[in-house]
């Protein structure tokens, strides 16, 4: 493999939100790396802090959000061809908008039904970013917008340019949102649950589209989702997030075939599957902790049937399993009792491997 070039490096990111009920520590020390041309997926249940991490990188945190510590180092190529690194968290909002947003990092949002301006033609919305950042002449921007629409698989692109969002279906709108994101040739694309609001057949098509675009343009992608099925289709690396922390990270094969963290076991067991003998779908008992209170020990311990005594007192560090595979669970400590993943999951992984081999 050629030398991997790091494009995004998140270190020790900690974010809290001021609410009427008190401070919520949504992100508690997240580390994340992304290399050029690769796809990293962030998986976790609602409220685990997936979107907040992405929004921090875009400088679009909600008003009550506050970054307590950490850095987001982003490396990009300037107009003159020079490579520049900057810490997005240290930049003024204005600078982020001018140099980063749309131009170098673009985002695709969850709900295509509401993320387009209803009063602007889609053509104008695609052209807007180019004209804003690069003062592209209108004709040139128009031509590029038509090309982008064709790239994202919209037929009759010229005609569609004059359409308003309400004249398009949900799947088409999401394609338009992707076209908008690609308008300024960004180096990093953040997809925040881009298929959650779409039905399954459209979902598959959008995933394929993002995969294809990545092959064609070499763009790096952060893929945020709660759907492990989606992760399997798009990602090179997976970060499993729980209660504002990354609890396990690894390559896609490592996470799916050799998971180490009990939370990842739970997530994998909770995937709907036609071959499971049990007629009931497995769920992880309990619910995520209230992040208004400081978490003592491992946040997952109360829901974890494999929890050790130490889990309730000391937070586990990241244990290294391989060069790319890490997990934060005391079960990996050399002195810990040997605990195997559940039998049912073992069988399932064997099945998944067989399916993948076919």
């Amino acid at each position: 493999m050629a030398e991997r070039e790091k494009i995004l490096e998140v270190r020790d990111l900690s974010i809290s939100f001021k609410t009427t009920a008190g401070n919520v520590n949504a992100i508690r020390g997240v580390n994340l790396d992304l290399y050029r041309g690769e796809t990293v997926a962030i998986v976790g249940e609602s409220g685990s802090g997936k979107s907040v991490t992405a929004k921090a990188a875009m400088g679009i945190l909600a008003k009550n959000g506050q970054v307590n510590s950490g850095s987001i180092k982003f490396t990009y190529t300037r107009e003159d061809g020079e490579k520049v690194s900057c810490d997005i968290l240290k930049m003024q909002k204005k600078e982020i908008r001018e140099h980063i947003n749309g131009k170098r990092i673009a985002m695709v949002f969850q709900d295509p039904m509401t993320s387009l301006n209803p009063l602007m033609t889609i053509g104008k919305q695609i052209m807007e970013g180019m004209i804003w950042h690069y003062k592209t002449p209108k004709e040139e921007a128009y031509k590029k917008a038509v090309k982008l629409l064709e790239l994202v698989g919209i037929t009759d692109a010229e005609k569609r340019m004059k359409n308003y969002p309400h004249q398009l279906s949900g799947g088409m709108r999401q394609r338009v949102v992707i076209a908008i994101a690609l308008a300024c040739n960004p180096e990093l694309l953040i997809c925040d649950e881009p298929t959650t609001a779409l039905d399954v057949t459209i979902q598959a098509k959008i995933l394929e589209l993002i995969r294809n675009i990545q092959k064609k343009t070499g763009i790096s992608v952060i893929y945020i989702t709660h759907d492990l099925g989606v992760v399997a289709k798009v990602a090179d690396y997976v970060n499993v997030m729980y209660a504002g922390k990354i609890v396990e990270k690894g390559s896609i094969d490592e996470i799916f075939y050799d998971p180490k963290h009990p939370y990842t076991w739970g997530l994998l067991s909770a995937m709907p599957d036609l071959n499971t003998a049990d007629s009931r779908l497995f769920t992880i008992p309990g619910s995520p902790p209230n992040l208004q209170k400081p978490v003592c020990g491992d946040a997952f311990a109360p829901r974890n049937k494999y929890a050790l005594k130490i889990d309730s007192r000391v937070e586990p560090p990241m244990f290294k399993i391989s060069d790319s595979h890490f997990a934060a669970t005391w079960l990996l400590h050399p002195l810990a009792p040997k605990v195997e993943m559940p039998e049912e999951l073992k069988k399932r992984i064997i099945r998944m491997k067989e399916e993948a081999a076919v």
Binding site: K94, E98, N101, A106, M107
Partner: protein, 309 residues
């Protein structure tokens, strides 16, 4: 779009006719007659009724009336200013009322929208609090309170504006009534603009626009304000009606020779024709405004414009 406008126009005309009929019927059912003078004998009243066509069946009276209205002839005044054409009576008064009303609408809408924008963009700060105070005052205090306060401070104490309407200084004497009238609109529009704009600012498409890197005035005007404006236009039309009602009082306070004060006099003296005419003018104004709003919707909102094609 054309079909949509044509349909809206047709509905408007039918509405105007129905209003005319209702007004006509209501006045028929009211006790008293324009010839209530005790000195008139029965025979004389009959002659008068005949002269003005009041002895004919109601339906005929109505048809005749509609015919004349279309020609611009509202008949003559019965008692306020005997036998004067109503159109003549209105000629001098309508421009005065329209001027003050129009000024109040424009002033109220502009100041209201600006206040609302300031409050929404700076929500939670002292600017927002000031806007809230202005809104609460404007909505809860009736316009004559402002009129009297201004008359005392600006008219009597500071002597900046004339206390009573004076056609020689038409603009100077219209300032205080305009502000008094506009207070309610300012308050309502400001409150509405603030709510709508806050909602739009919180929407997904604003987040997308921001994530594109759009900032500053372009972000607010192109993406937020246009979307917030649609519901604001809706409240503007009914506000104009409130202005008309408010003008009845304000015209009295500043003795403005407008149609508001004329209407009050006409009702008191059972002058059917004048009352019906002014009520009719108010209704037509309202319907025309509603029509304008509907057409404006189509212009601003492609969802309406294109759905009707």
């Amino acid at each position: 779009m054309k079909k949509y406008i044509a349909k809206r126009m047709f509905v408007s005309i039918v509405t105007i006719l129905i209003i005319l009929l209702l007004l006509f019927c209501m006045l028929q059912f009211m006790p008293g007659s324009p010839f209530n003078d005790e000195k008139l004998s029965e025979a004389q009243v009959q002659v008068l009724n005949q002269k003005y066509g009041l002895d004919q069946p109601i339906v005929v009276q109505f048809v005749n009336y509609v015919k004349n209205v279309v020609k611009g002839d509202f008949g003559v005044s019965y008692s306020i200013s005997k036998n004067t054409d109503i159109s003549k009576l209105l000629n001098t008064r309508l421009p005065v009322s329209f001027r003050i009303g129009g000024q109040a609408v424009v002033f109220g809408a502009i100041i209201g929208i600006m206040l609302g924008i300031a409050a929404a963009l700076k929500s939670g700060t002292w600017i927002d609090s000031i806007c809230t105070i202005v809104s609460v005052l404007g909505v809860s205090l009736p316009s004559y309170v402002f009129a009297l306060a201004m008359a005392y401070f600006l008219g009597y104490r500071a002597n900046i504006f004339p206390l009573l309407y004076n056609s020689a200084e038409a603009f100077a004497s219209s300032v205080m009534p305009t502000i008094a009238l506009a207070m309610f609109s300012i308050a309502t529009v400001a409150r509405f603009t603030r709510t709508e704009l806050l909602e739009v600012l919180d929407s997904d498409y604003m987040l997308l626009a921001e994530s594109k890197g759009i900032t500053g005035r372009t972000l607010i005007v192109r993406h937020a304000l246009r979307n917030a404006l649609i519901p604001i236009i809706t409240v503007l039309a009914p506000l104009v009606v409130d202005l008309m009602i408010g003008s009845l009082v304000i015209e009295k306070i500043f003795s403005i020779p407008g149609i508001g004060s004329l209407m009050v006099t006409a009702i008191q003296s059972n002058d059917y024709n004048v009352t019906i005419t002014i009520a009719f003018i108010y209704s037509v104004m309202y319907i025309v405004l509603m029509l304008a709003v509907d057409i404006l919707y189509g212009v601003i909102d492609p969802r309406i414009r294109l759905a009707k094609e």
